[in-house]
């Protein structure tokens, strides 16, 4: 057996001129992410859509609100209107570019709000424990007990159509799952030995929360929130599609899909065009979220 043979142990000298590299968690994650081809391509596409939305007035070839009865539902490939026109003769390309403003905002804003609100609630519940935990988590459980689309439609439906109301309803939909994740991670961290040690050495509650809890909660929350953005874009556009989001004549992908639906037999390709934008955005966001998860090596 090999156990009887003498083993020689060679100690390699550290490579000269290069200090051993030590990277923090975030540096490692960023390094992996920046070398992931899928993340780079998707990030590029998303950035392009975002930039187009931000600089819409500079890029859009036509006024997105100018109607023309003579140029209604022109097909794709028209010399003046590259992607054709909609049912009121408005330039579709310009409306898609402008539409990104509202649609992207409705995808990101509710998730950011829900992350802040849900994260705070979850950390407070997890850190305080006891009755406070019970109170916060049971209320979130109730909202979590609704199917997400139904809750969004119900609240928007009752409050009435509009940008702010959709924002409120979507935030309410995404807050409970985020609070749940923050709570479970915080509860785990709170009982760790090193947190106990920190407490024993006299660290204040704030210090423990900001120093230990927050750094552990951020990863899982970020990953979950990023996967929620694609859901938010789809549901938010869905609300506008039902007529519960922004009101016409605003350019918004879901709303455009709604109004163009009447022309589905006349100009089918034009009618489904806004949905392509929703699809691309939600897909790239999903793939980025997957890469983010892989780069952080966290299981949620």
């Amino acid at each position: 057996m090999t156990a009887t043979t003498a083993t020689t142990i060679t100690i390699e000298a550290p490579p000269k001129g290069r200090r051993p590299i030590s990277r923090s968690f975030w540096q490692t994650a960023w390094r992996r992410l920046s070398r992931d081809p899928v993340a780079l391509v998707c990030g590029g596409i998303l950035l392009l859509i975002l930039l187009a939305a931000i600089f819409a007035p500079l890029i859009a070839p036509h006024d997105p609100y100018r109607t023309s009865m003579a140029r209604r539902l022109l097909p794709i490939g028209d010399a003046r209107h590259w992607l054709g026109t909609d049912e009121l003769g408005r330039d579709l390309l310009s409306r898609l570019i402008y539409g990104g403003r509202m649609s992207l905002f409705m995808g990101f804003a509710p998730v950011v709000l829900a992350t802040l609100i849900g994260g705070t609630l979850g950390i407070v519940a997890g850190y305080c424990g006891g009755a406070i935990n019970m109170a916060i988590m049971r209320v979130t459980d109730v909202f979590y007990a609704f199917p997400s689309v139904l809750l969004a439609v119900a609240i928007s439906g009752v409050l009435g159509a509009g940008l702010v109301n959709s924002l409120v309803s979507l935030t309410l939909v995404f807050t409970p799952p985020l609070a749940r994740i923050a709570e479970s991670v915080t509860t785990q961290i709170r009982n760790q030995d090193y947190v106990e040690a920190a407490r024993a050495t006299g660290a204040s509650g704030w210090r423990i929360v900001f120093g230990h809890v927050l750094s552990n909660v951020t990863g899982p929350i970020l990953i979950y929130a990023s996967s929620m953005i694609s859901v938010a874009i789809v549901i938010a556009s869905g609300l506008s599609f039902l007529g519960l989001g922004v009101s016409p004549p605003n350019a918004e992908w879901g709303l455009m899909l709604n109004t163009l639906r009447q022309s589905i037999y006349v100009a089918p390709v034009n009618a489904i065009l806004p949905g392509v934008m929703i699809f691309i955005t939600s897909m790239t966001m999903n793939l980025i979220s997957d890469s983010l998860r892989a780069s952080m090596d966290v299981k949620v």
Binding site: V142, F146, V158, I264, S282, M285
Partner: protein, 317 residues
């Protein structure tokens, strides 16, 4: 076991009560008077007060809630403002129609999802696996209401082989098990099946890879068990996780069908909700949401219980 079941059911009760409170409060969230659709223009204050008393709106909120929930558990959800018919007689057939659509979508979505997930899980890392992963990401990301429109364009507008709207001949409101009804079911069911198919393919793939990595699976292979018998073990161990996700997906379908139902004019709860929102028929809105969310709560409970039967380890947690 029995004790666990009892505890689990007891734990669901406060959630169900909470859900019903939220449904009740929805009406009070609405801007303006909930009775504005009932009170005639220019009614005198006495008449308004009389109507308020008749509907019980003069009482404090907790009393109103108790009265409402008492009637609701007896199947009385009030009257529709638009049709003046009992809410229950509007909601019940709609729920049945949504169920039919959801069941069809579930069969399609779960079938494809499990199949794709198993293939990808067994061939993880290969080209096939990558293709399946790409398909499932597409399924998860696609806006299903838009997919519905695309299906209409392809199969109803261009090919003209399947109907685009409704549930059967001449705007039928009830489902009959015949060829015409089934043809109407195909497109909406496909549009709805994509999301669960994608999610389930993903989770089956992940679980299968996880199980295949376990030591006992290696042992099974090592002792010469034929792959199809090892497969039985894999399925047994993957089932609880996958089952939980399937239950959640089925429940989400019931609530999420509103968009697809609107695209295809399917006379289900989504369609009912949609018209209730735009006619401000709050009793219908409230009744539909209460019924659907109670289904959701119940399905989640059933899934939990089934999971603990399948996997006794969960019970201890």
């Amino acid at each position: 076991m029995l004790l666990y079941l009892a505890r689990r059911i007891l734990y669901t009760l406060p959630i169900a009560v909470g859900v019903s409170i939220v449904c009740f409060l929805l009406i009070h969230l609405a801007p303006g008077d909930p009775l504005s659709a009932v009170i005639p223009e220019g009614a005198s204050p006495e008449v308004v007060a009389q109507i308020k008393t008749a509907y019980g709106f003069d009482q404090p909120l907790p009393i109103q809630y108790l009265n409402w929930i008492w009637r609701a558990v007896h199947g009385d959800f009030g009257m529709s403002i638009m049709t003046r018919r009992p809410v229950m007689s509007e909601v019940a057939p709609a729920v049945v129609n949504t169920m039919i659509l959801a069941m069809a979508a579930v069969l399609l979505g779960f079938g494809f999802g499990i199949l794709l997930g198993l293939i990808a899980g067994y061939t993880s890392g290969s080209l096939v696996d990558r293709a399946v992963t790409a398909i499932s990401v597409t399924g998860v990301s696609v806006p299903h209401y838009w997919l519905g429109m695309v299906l209409i364009v392809i199969f109803a507008v261009h090919l003209g082989v399947l109907p685009a709207m409704g549930m059967g001949a001449q705007g039928s409101q009830t489902f009959a098990l015949d060829w015409v009804s089934l043809r109407h079911l195909i497109l909406p069911a496909c549009a709805m099946a994509v999301i669960p198919a994608g999610i389930i393919a993903r989770s089956v793939r992940g679980t299968v890879i996880e199980v295949l990595k376990q030591d006992y699976v290696q042992t099974l292979f090592a002792k010469g068990l034929p792959p199809q018998r090892v497969f039985v073990h894999v399925v047994k161990n993957a089932a609880p996780t996958v089952l939980a996700i399937m239950g959640l997906q089925f429940a989400q379908l019931l609530g999420g069908s509103i968009l697809v139902e609107t695209v295809f004019s399917w006379p289900g709860t989504g369609f009912l909700l949609n018209s209730a929102i735009f006619t401000r028929d709050l009793p219908i809105l409230q009744g539909t949401i209460l019924v659907l969310s109670m289904f959701f709560v119940t399905i989640n409970l059933i899934v939990d219980l089934m999971q603990s039967v399948l996997d006794p380890r969960i019970k201890r947690a």
